[in-house]
């Protein structure tokens, strides 16, 4: 409902040509593996697309599906979740919980008409800076091809409700 919130980010973004479209991607990274891989990519001065914004959580198991929905509702074109490899979780098994939620969430997003490539779960260990760089670029390119996420009015209502909660 763009009228109700004139300056809101819920406004449907205008159509943009794929060449000039810069996707907005929100990433949730666990503190022990993927966030450190991102740090290592930094100290190694690896270069990657500047489209991803990182939110640090202690464990990928902390990523509430609502965070992902919230990000989509507020204009993210893609969401990336990064955790430790299976068996490597700093909290033993939080990443398995993340995987379970991710699978359900994917089904839900499909029903909402959000393309599968907009959400991604990746296991990236603290030493895998090169893989991290590749995932960041790959994710941006996939979402770039999809173009901006244009939530239909129904989903906008959902977004409002979700915010109200």
């Amino acid at each position: 409902m763009p009228d109700a919130m004139p300056n809101s980010s819920h406004a449907v973004p205008p159509r943009v040509e794929p060449q000039t479209f810069e996707p907005r991607i929100v990433a949730f990274f666990c503190n022990w593996c993927t966030y450190l891989a991102a740090d290592l990519a930094g100290t190694s001065r690896m270069k990657y697309s500047p489209n991803v914004r990182v939110v640090r959580v202690m464990c990928s198991g902390r990523v509430d599906p609502q965070f992902v929905l919230d990000a989509f509702a507020h204009g993210a074109d893609g969401v990336l979740i990064g955790g430790c490899h299976p068996g490597d979780c700093h909290y033993q098994e939080g990443n398995y919980k993340a995987l379970r939620r991710y699978r359900l969430l994917k089904r839900m997003l499909r029903q909402m008409g959000i393309e599968e490539d907009r959400i991604r779960l990746e296991w990236i260990s603290a030493s895998e800076a090169e893989r991290f760089r590749w995932v960041m670029n790959d994710m941006v390119e996939h979402v770039r091809v999809l173009g901006p996420l244009r939530l239909q009015p129904d989903e906008e209502v959902f977004a409002e409700e979700e915010v109200a909660v």
Binding site: S9, E22, R24, V26, W32, C33, Y35, L36, A38, D39, A41, G42, T43, R45, M46, K47, Y48, P50, R53, V54, V55, R56, V57, M58, C59, G61, R62, V63, D64, P65, Q66, F67, D70, A71, H74, G75, A76, G87, D88, H90, Y91, Q92, E93, G94, K97, R101, S125, A126, S127, E128, R133
Partner: protein, 663 residues
């Protein structure tokens, strides 16, 4: 119950660090500062060349006082580096340290992007998110965890031995757990040590005996850690102690049983001598082994195989009654506060490079085998006699076998150049053979190393710069092996006939390093060595509090570096033990009772059994001591009644929305 939060009508200070040109070179720090000043709730926004410097810290503290700031945001490097620093600054300024949030402007922005405009825009988003989030922060307190003064050291090589002695001398009790029948590790197998040519046994064995006799050290050989529970200060360790079939307390180390064994000749390949020699089923790994207690090998002992042995060993042991064929595996549990991992390395398996002919041509040896050959206590009593009983007249040493190689390991194993030089010297000294060292680059950084290289060169060892491409029997048929390499200094291919080839195999992680690291909740670097917390500033710490690394389990290194690292690990453990407690981050979760519906969804999800169900109230309850703050239960709660400190739902929603609230 958490205190009501400050919705923050104002009072936020934002500090953008230049980090010299590290950040300011790619991100427009002035634009960021101007932008931050326009954000709702921001009272002051400044940029500073080095926010972490003393004047930078003072600036923030002064602002907190003079401008009555209520929240602080610093946009600088990774929180892994300076979050603690700025929390302390916030605290010294008079605010709760958790009224602070850090923006990673360097590792996640300026260092990884080249487009100034895009990097600056990203910086704006990150700062906006932090400003929106920090308003919701609540005051939190770190909890103190007491530290059990006992220490567990895993691995009894020189690293474990040195760390154990350092801690034991400081009056702390150490459990030293070793998988083999003796401590000493790889160092005990070496003949001499570079570059001083100290006899390895002469400098190692006094330390090994000291371990055995030290009242503060409990030494468990033939033992492995099977389970690690608990957390820093309060680890509960389960150790599996395999049977030795000889009672350690009863055995006096007379070794009469070895002579008395029904096997008159030693027939079993001897592991300690790299299978070049033979031992009996009842044996002591090497003369200076600690503990000085024999061990029975179940696989080759006739009593175990058939049950019909005359048991001459038992007869000769007589009243001492040290031999016990019924001995069973035991499990012990111990409480320790800190752990040092010193699990060492594995030597590269040379059969992985088939064209070097190891395992095919008998006179191709690995470096470690030659260490045993040249050792006076080795299978040939120190004489270099080849597998075909000849004495070599020409010897070729191949550097970088399993190191600096795209097909095996890319990294340099650091010690091979020096031990190749040492072996060249020892072989020349013992046989007067012509020695050819094939190297890619001669890497001799270290005290006295380059001098040693020069000395070996002056002794007449030949150096050929080139990677050996092939080793094969000389078609002339005189028993020589031809070593084929391009001499890159001469620019020609050379084929050198030798009697003996020594492969300087590199260092690899232990084959079970992955299992071990999972057991101890550690990470590994790409090549499989245990990952240190910071390569420069926390080289012996890990990401798990209270667990430290020493020696080659962290990466290839020589004995001086290993000992230095072991001392550092011991010092880190001592620092924790001496203060007696550690402060832990308050990221724990709690249940908001009035919202909890008692659905029990969260209870099975907690990996630490920290959540219980209170029947009287029909509510879940989280034990703060057991909670480690992963937040899995928080994400699962259908009624949103679990909160994780500093990672509350609302804080993360604000952060996400802040990231996306671009104009």
């Amino acid at each position: 119950m958490p205190e009501p939060k400050d919705t923050g009508s104002g009072g936020i200070g934002v500090y953008v660090c230049h980090c010299g040109t590290n950040i300011a070179g790619t991100v427009d720090v002035n634009a960021l500062t101007e932008y931050a000043a326009t954000l709702p709730g921001v009272t002051v926004a400044r940029n500073y060349k080095y926010a972490c410097s003393t004047p930078g810290q003072e600036l923030i503290k002064r602002d907190i006082h003079e401008l009555n700031l209520t929240r602080v945001v610093v946009a600088a490097c990774s929180p892994c580096l300076h979050e603690k620093t700025f929390r302390n600054v916030t605290s010294e300024g008079g605010l709760n340290p958790y009224y602070f949030h850090m923006v990673n402007l360097r590792e996640h922005d300026s260092w990884v992007h080249t487009d100034k405009k895009a990097a600056t825009e990203k910086g704006k988003d990150l700062i906006r998110a932090a400003v929106r989030r920090v308003r919701l922060h609540r005051p939190l307190e770190r909890k103190r965890v007491s530290i059990d003064p006992n220490v567990l050291i895993v691995g009894g090589g020189i690293a474990g031995i040195h760390a154990a002695l350092t801690l034991a001398n400081a009056g702390k009790h150490v459990y030293l757990v070793e998988r083999d029948a003796t401590i000493g590790g790889h160092m005990a197998m070496f003949d001499k040590t570079f570059p001083t040519l100290d006899c390895a046994a002469c400098i190692l064995t006094p330390k090994m005996t000291a371990v055995k006799s030290h009242p503060n050290i409990t030494l468990w050989t033939l033992s492995e850690v099977t389970q690690v529970d608990g957390y820093v200060g309060n680890y509960k360790i389960t150790v599996k102690r395999k049977p030795r079939y000889v009672l350690e307390d009863a055995c006096v180390g007379c070794m009469e049983c070895i002579d008395a064994c029904v096997y008159k000749q030693a027939k079993v390949p001897d592991e300690f001598n790299m299978y070049l020699g033979k031992r009996k089923p009842i044996y002591i790994p090497f003369p200076q082994a600690v503990p000085q207690v024999v061990v029975i090998d179940r696989e080759s002992c006739i009593e175990f195989k058939s049950g019909k042995c005359k048991k001459t060993c038992v007869e000769v042991c007589a009243d001492r009654k040290a031999i016990d064929f019924q001995q069973q595996e035991k499990t012990e549990t111990i409480d320790v506060g800190t752990i040092i991992l010193a699990t060492g390395f594995f030597t590269f398996n040379a059969t992985r490079i088939p064209y070097y002919g190891y395992g095919t041509y008998p006179n191709v040896y690995t470096g470690l085998e030659v260490e045993r050959l040249v050792n006076a206590a080795g299978p040939t009593s120190g004489e270099i006699i080849l597998r075909d009983n000849r004495k070599p007249k020409a010897v070729g040493i191949v550097h970088c076998v399993g190191s600096r190689d795209e097909n095996t390991n890319r990294y340099c194993s650091r010690v091979c150049c020096m031990y190749s030089l040492k072996l060249a010297h020892l072989i020349k000294e013992k046989t007067d053979a012509e020695v050819f060292n094939f190297y890619i680059d001669m890497r001799t950084p270290g005290k006295g190393f380059e001098e040693f290289y020069n000395r070996v060169a002056e002794e007449g060892t030949h150096f050929i710069r080139g990677r050996v491409a092939d080793i094969y029997p000389d078609p002339a048929g005189d028993g020589h092996l031809l070593m084929c390499a391009e001499d890159t200094l001469m620019g020609t291919v050379r084929k050198i006939p030798v009697d003996m080839v020594v492969l300087s195999t590199g260092l690899e992680p232990q084959p079970d390093a992955q299992e071990v690291r999972r057991r101890f909740h550690l990470s590994c670097s790409g090549e499989g060595f245990f990952l240190e917390r910071h390569p420069k500033l926390a080289p012996v710490s890990t990401f798990t509090d209270g667990i430290f690394l020493a020696g080659c389990c962290q990466g290839p290194k020589d004995i001086p570096d290993t000992v230095a690292q072991a001392g550092a690990a011991a010092a880190e453990a001592l620092a924790l033990i001496d203060i007696g407690y550690i402060e832990q981050e308050p990221y724990t979760a709690q249940v908001l009772e009035e919202v909890c519906s008692g659905c029990k969804t969260c209870i099975p999800l907690c990996p630490y059994q920290a959540i219980s169900f209170v029947e009287e109230k029909k509510k879940a309850e989280i034990n703060e001591v057991l909670c480690k703050g992963c937040g899995t239960c928080v994400a699962s709660c259908p009624s949103g009644s679990i909160q994780q400190n500093l990672f509350e739902d609302e804080e993360i929603f604000e952060e996400v929305e802040g990231l996306l609230a671009y104009a």
